[in-house]
């Protein structure tokens, strides 16, 4: 048995599509939606409702669908809560019903319906109140299981998504009659036009209605309009593209379902693409959504929106029922009767809730159909509607057998996008609709979205708004000759609910909110429409109340004896329909979640099998495992020992480097750094510290004077960007009078540390032999230009982070790889080893150098033992506030070294200092351990920490405790410099 009509519709009968629903095989045609194909196969029961697990079918034919939600595809491509009415049918489609157990036809939780008094408005708050211990452990999981929507896939999505930008003069949203008209007039002026429509076929209601434009079928007019638009070079058409949000400055978010109509996207193609449309002007032509009527059991499968019935009949050539009852409060419902009859369907009756005089006037057009002035009080049936109870205005009741109820409560403008910038729509009492009021900048509204409901109005307003929008972009054109159309009648007398109904009367189908729930909410004292939404869940979930909002507002207004205008609406926010997280992420997931920055030696280090770690955006080598070594401990100890006894190589290119030039370069440097630079000679470098305005430590590094008016400053890796921003702020906002120029040269220079007693020997082998590296010619803290053995220029700095004799050599970025290889090869007989971040850390802890753990934003120069560096001879950023008494208080936690008393004990970063014998509590806390390491030189765990009055307590023993992980140790407080406190090695 099939409900497919023998002819007509916009389906391709030459192209059959096999598909499966809940495992059963069916067949439809290309051009079908999943919903139309299911209806054609007489599948009416599609899902179970959210709260009561009531049987649900197909209500609508578009994005407003609250009932027919399915899981699409399977495995990693499973996609929950997909509207069958929006899904384009394809060969091989697999869909599964959701929110039912064990099966769709027999659902255990349908028994919830019997307990429905428990599930009234606010049932979460009323039912699951006590005991409180049950909230998270019992109630929450129970509610989630019972009231679930679909299931998301558990595997990673195998498909590719991407994002893109597109610019235009005029963006037209919606390709129905108004949108096509707007796009035509705008495009004919030569303006750049984007036309987007959520459906896979452009044309909107032109495809769904038996209407003529200029004497030809509306669909043919639409096809001609689309063909003309396609022929214009600066028009881009986007079918399958939902404009889901309006953002600042004419930016519109849209999602294009590039390949959702295929089982698997073709190789190299994305499944979906998120667009940022950047439009100078926008014409919103998003049409309207029909409202259901509120009567008993109005959620039974077979009860549909009247306009949707026309869509199925006219566009998809499907008769959704053999024998229909039409229930309407407006003239438009009667068109459905006409279309059903024309398609060979049977109409048992038209039930019109308005005055008998209107009904009898209209019924003259349909003498063969029984017209009743009255109301449908309830639908009857098990899993599908079988009959309706009708009560006429005279009070007589009767039962009419039917398998389809087409209901129409009038059409609401689809004005969601007009509200995304915070504007609320205005209630038009005369037409009983909300219409757009204040609009986002650059937006115009045409057609039904603006309340201009007839086909003729849609075309006129579309043409006009398209032209005005183009004119606002500087393009001129003229109005075309208006096509001939017969205007339909849109009279309506709103029926917000049937009073004498039998059975549950649903307002919000997706959330199972009934008219009684809304009225109970009012009786319980809720006054705000926003509270109605939160308390009842009306208008929530994936459909956001597209079919229910207006009715809900009207019912609340009635109960409170207020006007609908005064009751107002809730706020529409993006997205208009759900958007997959994957589409929003686009390319940027997995290792592309954020960009990765690779150091110049990366390829060489990975060839050596280095283990890498993330350090901000950088990927840095943490250690280089040798033969038979695993994990971090063995290679780190070996690397440290090699640096202390021979020579090591480390990529330090990640440090920020800023080249400062100009007559006022020194002035800028002096104001930025807290210590003196005026005395720094050309060819020398100096350690420098920067403070924040509030006097706390900001960053440290070195500044080398390369020439009279030229300095190269380095920053920590982690603060490189902030220091550069800080410098620009200072120069542009504070001291624009300074004649100074600076740029980041972090990437210009690949820079490597060569550290260890044999570093001079190694360096000599790669440098021009003429260069004298003796202590006299190139002493500690010397800086200068040198030449490599091959004649290429390089920069050399004699600075040391390890405390050993050490150099840093810099070459242009593209030469970094060859230099590190040359250094490594040249030093084999010297015992050269590459060392990573772990060894670097051990070396600096042994030497008492501070890094980010100590420069943590809460420490001062005094805290870190470098307070004597703060200049008293000059002004600098942070100098005033840094002198505050509390910031130089010796009782503050200050930098110390610690070593375990038991040489086998271990330390962990973050341990707290507690005096011996004191209770481990906050009042005895005396600071914390900032850095720890195992020192292979001292052969024990050591660390740095911030201890109250620390420098006064060298030699004292204190406890370090880690209550979180249950560890503690006794440590001796000592100088933070464990190795070579006199600095003999680095000057060697």
């Amino acid at each position: 048995m099939s409900s497919r009509l023998a002819q007509g519709g916009m389906i391709n009968r030459q192209q059959a599509c096999r598909f499966a629903f809940d495992g059963a095989e069916y067949s439809g045609y290309a051009g079908d939606s999943l919903a139309s194909a299911l209806l054609a196969n007489d599948v009416r029961l599609i899902g179970r409702s959210f709260k009561y697990h009531r049987p649900r079918g197909i209500l609508s034919a578009g994005p407003e669908e609250p009932n027919a939600l399915v899981e699409l595809r399977s495995g990693a491509r499973r996609e929950p809560n997909t509207r069958a009415t929006d899904v384009e049918l394809y060969d091989g489609l697999q869909a599964t019903s959701q929110n039912r157990w064990p099966s769709l036809r027999f659902d255990v939780q349908a028994i919830n319906g019997l307990f429905s008094p428990l599930f009234v408005a606010g049932f979460y708050y009323k039912t699951f109140m006590w005991p409180a211990s049950f909230w998270e452990k019992v109630y929450e999981p129970m509610i989630r299981r019972a009231a679930g929507l679909g299931r998301a896939a558990l595997e990673a999505d195998p498909d590719h998504y991407e994002k893109s930008w597109a610019h235009c003069d005029v963006l037209v949203i919606g390709a129905g009659p108004a949108g096509l008209a707007a796009a035509l007039t705008a495009a004919r002026t030569g303006a750049r036009v984007i036309l987007a429509d959520e459906n896979f076929a452009l044309g909107g209601r032109c495809l769904a209605e038996r209407r003529t434009i200029d004497g030809q079928p509306a669909a043919d007019w639409a096809a001609q309009a689309i063909a003309e638009l396609r022929s214009l070079p600066d028009v881009r058409l986007f079918p399958r593209t939902t404009v889901f949000g309006v953002f600042d400055d004419g930016v519109y978010g849209a999602v294009e379902r590039v390949n959702d109509h295929l089982p698997v996207p073709p190789e190299f193609q994305p499944r979906q693409r998120v667009w940022r449309f950047i439009a100078k002007q926008t014409v919103l032509a998003s049409g309207s959504i029909e409202r259901p009527l509120v009567f008993g059991n109005n959620d039974l499968p077979g009860v549909m929106l009247a306009g949707a019935v026309r869509t199925y009949v006219n566009r998809y050539a499907v008769l959704p029922g053999r024998r229909a009852v039409i229930f309407t409060d407006n003239d438009d419902g009667w068109n459905t009767a006409a279309d059903l009859v024309a398609a060979g369907g049977q109409v048992a009756a038209i039930v019109d809730s308005r005055e008998p005089v209107i009904v009898s006037e209209l019924s003259r057009r349909f003498p063969e159909i029984q017209a009743i002035a009255g109301e449908v009080t309830g639908a009857r049936g098990g899993r599908h509607v079988e009959s309706v109870e009708v009560t006429s205005r005279s009070g007589t009741s009767r039962r009419l057998d039917c398998d389809l109820v087409a209901m129409s409560g009038g059409w609401s403008p689809t004005l969601h996008l007009t509200s995304h910038k915070g504007n609320r729509p205005r209630w038009d009492e005369e037409r009983s609709i909300f219409v757009p009021d204040m609009l986002p900048a650059g937006m115009r509204v045409a057609g039904a979205a603006n309340g201009d409901m007839t086909l003729g109005e849609a075309l006129v307003t579309g043409f006009r708004q398209g032209l005005t929008a183009a004119a606002a972009c500087g393009f001129s054109g003229s109005m075309p000759t208006l096509p001939r159309v017969t205007d339909e009648s849109t009279r309506r007398v709103p029926l917000w609910r049937v009073r004498q109904a039998s059975g549950k009367c649903f307002v919000d189908f997706q959330n199972d909110v009934t008219a009684d729930d809304v009225e109970l909410t009012a009786h319980e004292g809720y006054r705000s429409i926003e509270h109605l939404k939160r308390y009842t869940t009306l208008g929530m979930a994936t459909d956001q109340g597209k079919t229910s909002n207006v009715t809900g507002i009207a019912l609340l207004a009635q109960q409170r004896s207020m006007s609908i205008a005064a009751t107002g609406t809730t706020t529409f926010r993006p997205p208009y329909t759900p958007v997959a997280m994957g589409a929003l992420a686009g390319h940027h997931r997995g290792m592309d979640f954020r960009p990765t920055r690779y150091a110049p030696s990366h390829r060489w280090a990975s060839e050596l099998g280095a283990s890498f770690t993330e350090s901000g955006p950088w990927l840095r080598a943490e250690w280089f495992p040798g033969p038979g070594e695993s994990a971090w401990f063995a290679p780190t100890c070996r690397e440290v020992k090699a640096v202390r006894s021979a020579v090591g190589l480390c990529d330090v290119s990640t440090l920020g480097k800023i080249d400062v030039q100009g007559p006022d370069a020194l002035k800028l440097i002096e104001r930025l750094y807290a210590n003196n630079f005026a005395t720094l000679a050309v060819g020398r470098a100096r350690y420098g510290i920067m403070l924040r305005e509030d006097g706390f430590m900001f960053d440290d590094g070195t500044a080398a004077r390369l020439a009279e008016n030229r300095y190269l400053i380095t920053t920590t890796t982690s603060h490189a960007v902030q220091v550069y921003q800080h410098m620009h702020l200072c120069h542009q906002a504070l001291w624009p009078e300074l004649d100074v120029q600076f740029v980041s040269v972090t990437d210009q220079w690949a820079q490597f540390a060569i550290a260890g007693p044999r570093s001079r020997e190694l360096l000599q082998r790669v440098l021009d032999p003429q260069i004298d590296l003796s202590n006299q010619a190139f002493p500690f803290m010397a800086a200068g230009e040198v030449r490599l053995r091959n004649g290429e220029p390089a920069r050399l700095f004699r600075i040391s982070f390890s405390g050993e004799l050490a150099y840093e050599i810099a070459v242009p970025g593209h030469d970094g790889d060859s230099l590190i290889r040359a250094l490594h090869a040249a030093g084999q007989d010297l015992g050269v080893v590459p060392y990573g971040l772990e060894a670097l850390n051990v070396l600096r802890v042994e030497k008492g150098h501070v890094v980010g753990s100590e420069l943590n934003g809460q420490t001062t120069a005094h805290d870190l033992g470098i307070g004597r560096m703060l200049s008293t001879q000059k002004d600098f950023i942070g100098s005033v506030l840094g002198r505050r008494a509390n910031l130089i208080d010796p009782a503050r936690p200050r930098l110390v070294g610690i070593r375990t008393v038991d040489r086998n004990a271990k330390l962990a970063g973050g341990m707290h200092f507690i005096p011996q014998g004191a209770k481990c509590s906050i009042e005895h806390d005396q600071g914390h351990v900032t850095s720890v390491c195992y020192s292979p030189i001292l052969e024990q765990w050591i660390g740095l920490g911030l201890l109250t009055r620390g420098p006064e307590r060298h030699g004292e023993k204190v406890m370090v405790v880690d209550p979180l992980r249950g560890a503690e140790a006794l440590v001796e407080v000592c100088s933070p410099v464990f190795i070579d406190p006199e600095g003999a090695r680095l000057r060697g």
Partner: protein
């Protein structure tokens, strides 16, 4: 498929294999590049100095200006990138002499990777990571944008109407940019040509 898109940056065809590639990509090497920043209130004098030395005046608005040895790429008010073929002799000394006290010069030759992009889908590929409008009405030959591509700072300029673009990206970010470019061009097919020494565009 995300992992399958992790292509090495080697010459060859990537992504969609049939027909002409939508994007043709070539790295240009052996160039000199320098930041030139005018000294305080000296932008006009710096421009005049460049006119004397290189036969072109660095643009005062986002654009490029090709001289006899160098192309000046606008990079900000009073701030340009000077791009030219690799030449012996330090670029800073050469440019420094020309600009004298009117501008400071910073060698950036090692700091960037320079790409040339062409092909019928070049605009579509770039639109997947760049928010600027590359339509011929908005961005023409000689125009430059200091912007981001896939969240990474780049200079992009158009060197021919075809269109042909050149793009400078910070060297240590190049791999991430390339992963995005490769993924974005895959559906149109992408041809990576062997690197070529820099030459100013003469199409």
């Amino acid at each position: 498929m995300a992992d399958a898109l992790h292509f090495a940056f080697n010459p060859g065809r990537l992504g969609h294999r049939e027909g002409a590639p939508g994007l043709v990509l070539q790295e240009l090497t052996q160039f000199t590049l320098a930041s030139v920043i005018a000294c305080k209130d000296q932008a006009a004098q710096a421009a005049a100095a460049a006119q004397r030395a290189f036969g072109t005046s660095p643009p005062m608005a986002p654009a490029t200006a090709a001289g006899n040895a160098l192309t000046f790429i606008w990079s900000g008010p009073g701030h340009w990138l000077a791009l030219g073929p690799h030449a012996t002799g330090a670029v800073e000394a050469r440019l420094g002499t020309a600009f004298g006290t009117h501008a400071s010069v910073f060698d950036q030759s090692g700091s960037r990777v320079l790409l040339e992009l062409r092909g019928p889908r070049a605009r579509d590929v770039l639109a997947k990571g760049m928010s600027i409008d590359l339509h011929p009405r908005a961005f023409r030959t000689g125009d430059v944008a200091v912007t981001t591509a896939s969240h990474l700072a780049v200079h992009l300029w158009q060197v021919a109407d075809e269109p042909v673009y050149r793009l400078l990206v910070v060297r240590t970010w190049f791999d991430s940019l390339w992963r995005w470019l490769a993924a974005s061009a895959a559906e149109y097919g992408c041809e990576v040509l062997a690197p070529a020494p820099y030459a100013s565009h003469t199409a």
